[in-house]
Amino acid sequence: MTEKNRKQLKEIVGKTIVQPQFHCEIDGGAAHTSIILSGINSIRDFSESAVLLRTRGFFVKITGKNLSLAVYENKTVEISGKILAMELIYDKN
């Protein structure tokens, strides 16, 4: 293997980090629900009554009461509390 090939191999290996896809798990009942979302690129806004998250291609808006936020490794976020609605808003741009 030449030096050039070795460098190209390193770049290829560097670029093949797998990005987690969007994945949603909902657990709980009416009084308390927990939503775990994977593949979240950024947290746009957070308050006790609403959360706005950005994933690849669309936004996720969750509304409810007494919402709390937990951030996990590998772009995973958990929203728990009394969830009233969850919307997926597609980015027209």
């Binding site: 950024s42 947290i43 806004d45 957070f46 308050s47 709390s68 951030v71 996990y72």
Partner: protein
């Protein structure tokens, strides 16, 4: 709820303003940090990650509390050697105090509690003894053997006190009264050797031959002796002949072990069973499961840690033809067992044994003369005419 590793290894509470929660959570998401942020903007971080978190937060205003948890307590007390020494000494005293028997108490009702406690002390259980050196089963057996008033004994440990449950012996001096009427009859054809009458009238004498069912001691009192009826009681010994036989077939099924594999391994640790592995199911055919317990002894005492290993030994049932010598030996052994059973409550006077080979095996029989109790109670009722 704080995580158990945070409690042990130490943690601090970082607080940010509510308006900064979005920015803070975005920073943690980008830096792959797992954090649970509460509604008031506070979150817990491990003690060793405080510096990294504060670096990430940068210009965002935040407050960091003092380190909490066990590590936090340790940091506060690090230079207070007296408190640490006191804690260690207290811990050692607590451990040492649980190793000794504090008291021996009798559980339940017992008339001679002091006597029982004295017998237990002789057997080895008394306040001040070490629990580890006590062999509960041995103490129970020794106390039972030496006591005339205890029927059953059980020692239980509750904390540091030994509670002893005692069941006293009940002595019955009088026999229960028999009601109704009965005669004593012969249980076998025999020759009467000895007759002892407690109640009733003897109808036979020693030396007489009787048939099975014949009345030996009558419960009917003749009129010349006062008349009436009674429950006959007495002992009658008779001499009788009997035959026992044994047979062994030519062909027997024998087990031949073909393979042996380890089946399961478990460790018992102070009464708690820990299953390491089990390789066989609950139903296995054509195999024997042999379990061996390996105990550990320390200074001559068995400690409550042992391992149990089981092996699965597979076998095949094969038909085997026995030789003449083997047939005779097996049949003799069977006959010997039957003879022991027959003469358990009888005196053997004479025996003559013979054996013969047949087409299907070997048969042995023994004709014997024994002397035994031939009295059998037969109750009767009076009918009104």
């Amino acid at each position: 709820m704080i995580r158990i590793d945070y409690l042990i290894l130490g943690y601090a509470t970082v607080r940010v303003d509510k308006e900064h929660i979005t920015a803070v959570s975005q920073l943690f998401l980008k830096n792959n940090i797992a954090v649970r942020i509460k509604n008031d903007g506070s979150f817990a971080v491990r003690a060793r990650e405080i510096r990294r978190i504060t670096d990430i937060l940068g210009e965002i205003p935040h407050t960091v509390s003092e380190i909490k948890g066990l590590y936090g307590i340790w940091l506060k007390l690090k230079k207070r050697y007296g408190i640490i020494a006191a804690l260690i000494v207290t811990l050692m005293l607590c451990i040492a105090s649980t190793a000794v028997v504090w008291d021996v108490r009798i559980d339940g009702e017992c008339e001679d509690a002091d006597e029982v406690i004295a017998e237990l002390e002789d057997a080895g259980l008394s306040p001040g003894k070490l629990w580890l050196t006590l062999d509960k089963n041995k103490i129970e057996l020794t106390a039972l053997k030496s006591s005339d008033s205890i029927a059953w004994l059980n020692i239980n440990r509750r904390g540091n006190v030994a509670y002893v449950r005692v069941v006293p012996k009940e002595v019955h001096n009088t026999e229960p009264e028999k009601s109704g009427y009965a005669s004593i009859v012969a249980s076998h054809d025999c020759v009467i050797e000895e007759i002892t009458v407690k109640t009733g009238i003897a109808l036979v004498k020693p030396g007489e031959s009787v048939r099975a069912g014949e009345v030996l001691i009558s419960g009917v009192i003749p009129t010349e002796l006062g008349g009436g009826y009674c429950y006959a009681d007495g002992e009658v010994k008779g001499r009788l002949t009997d035959r026992i036989s044994a047979f062994t077939s030519n062909e027997v099924i024998e087990k031949t072990y073909t393979d042996k594999k380890i089946g399961s391994l478990s460790i018992s640790f102070f009464g708690k069973e820990i299953n390491i592995f089990k390789l066989y199911g609950n139903s296995q055919e054509n195999c024997d499961i042999i379990e061996k317990k390996h105990e550990i002894e320390l200074l001559g005492k068995k400690i409550p840690i042992f391992c149990t290993v089981s092996h699965v030994e597979y076998f095949e049932n094969t038909g085997v033809t026995l030789s003449a010598d083997e047939l005779v030996a097996l049949t003799s052994e069977k006959l010997r067992h039957k003879l022991l059973e027959r003469t358990a409550c009888a005196d053997l006077i004479s025996i003559r044994t013979e054996g013969a080979f047949t087409d299907s095996g070997y048969e042995m029989y023994a004709d014997m003369v024994v002397r035994e109790n031939v009295a059998s109670i037969r109750e009767f009722q009076l009918t009104a005419e």
